[in-house]
């Protein structure tokens, strides 16, 4: 059984997704000891997203996220960990899922590492309150269930406007989390299927990695009118603040740790 991690990156004018993918792949190799494959996709225009960074600047940038439903076709592995390029692996927790009986796993909960409830609006995705799953990290085996979930994601993507009306969410941009949630629900027999047994550690776009010392991150976050900090050590983190990841000092320190033997 071959196993590996698949990362999907797209060239971008302002955000270095390919650089992020290289860093994320090195961290996976370091902590999970598995092969990695970075797929460089085509920048297909049409989708856009606004980010508000920690310095209160808001930017609207193109968002190239249409390749994720192709992950099953792209992966050469029997067991695949599909991860976002802004997901930083700092321990071997995800290694435990390889070789298990699970066919498809993703996260159904998020853990805001700053404990300031930053993701309160992401718990559900529709006006009816359907829970939202996260496409950030997905484990799948080559099997009928995983194949059908990704095929259904393609179907949801192709009929995005219809699905937004049917399920009750805003149509303005394609979001993989939503497509995955719908596909997962349907292909598990109109029911909640299995998910990872712990929440997805995440840093919102307005909080930042302040400093890096090996596998120890000092996180700076806004706490009311003041700033506060929390220390994380050996903790996997979905760093949604791309601006801070692009900081040469932060990126350099993370890269040095990832390549250190």
């Amino acid at each position: 059984m071959t196993k590996g991690a698949l990362l999907l990156a797209t060239p971008h004018d302002t955000i270095d997704y390919i650089g992020f993918a290289e860093l994320a792949a090195k961290l996976v190799q370091k902590h999970l000891g598995i092969d990695t494959l970075i797929h460089i996709g085509e920048a297909k225009p049409g989708n856009a997203r606004s980010f508000r960074w920690h310095d209160d600047k808001t930017v609207r940038v193109p968002w190239y996220n249409s390749d994720r439903p192709l992950a099953y076709d792209l992966s050469p592995y029997d067991e695949t960990l599909l991860i976002d390029v802004d997901y930083l692996t700092f321990n071997d927790t995800l290694k435990q899922y390889f070789g298990s009986n699970n066919e498809f796993l993703c996260y159904d909960r998020v853990w805001d590492v700053t404990d300031t409830n930053s993701f309160v609006n992401d718990a559900t995705m529709t006006t009816a309150g359907n829970r939202m799953l996260w496409a950030t990290v997905v484990y799948f085996r080559k099997c009928e269930l995983a194949h059908n979930i990704f095929e259904m994601m393609k179907n949801v993507q192709a009929n995005w406007r219809y699905n937004s009306k049917f399920w009750g969410f805003t149509v303005d941009r394609f979001r993989n989390d939503y497509a995955l949630t719908i596909a997962h629900q349907l292909m598990n027999g109109y029911a909640n299927g299995p998910t990872f047994n712990h929440p997805l550690g995440s840093l919102s776009t307005t909080d930042t990695i302040y400093s890096v010392h090996d596998n120890e991150l000092l996180i700076k976050y806004k706490d009311g009118e003041k700033y506060n900090a929390v220390k994380l050590k050996g903790t996997n983190l979905h760093c949604m603040n791309k601006a801070c990841l692009q900081d040469p000092e932060i990126y350099g320190a993370l890269d040095a740790y990832a390549t250190k033997r």
Binding site: Q96, S100, H198, G201, A229, K231
Partner: protein
């Protein structure tokens, strides 16, 4: 005599410390997992105690995903104990470090 600012500072410090402890708990609990014969098990005291006292060498146990798994008692106990000790050791060390810091937020000024 204490003034209001002292109370505020003390309360903030307690909040800060509680948040850091919760973050540490979440970080470490995520790691308390082992895979055995296709099953995924959360490692906790009750799993360790059960495996230690179970007289049969092979049993069926329900894993975190409600699947019945054929378990080699000694093998799972060894793996689970190893994982438990590794994580608890890290947890203890980091918890001890945490006590040395008056406020984590102060590290931003260093």
């Amino acid at each position: 005599m204490y003034i209001m600012e002292n109370f505020e500072e003390f309360a903030r410090r307690r909040l800060d410390h509680t948040r850091q402890r919760l973050a540490l708990k979440e970080q470490q609990e995520q790691r308390l997992t082992v895979t055995h014969n296709g099953g995924v098990f959360k490692v906790d005291i009750s799993l360790l105690a059960y495996l230690k006292t179970e007289p049969n060498s092979h049993v069926y146990l329900k894993d975190s995903y409600d699947n019945p798994i054929h378990v080699d008692r000694d093998k799972l106990l060894t793996d689970a104990r190893h994982r438990y000790n590794e994580v608890m050791n890290d947890w203890h060390n980091q918890h001890a470090e945490l006590k040395q810091v008056r406020r984590v937020g102060q590290l931003l000024d260093d």
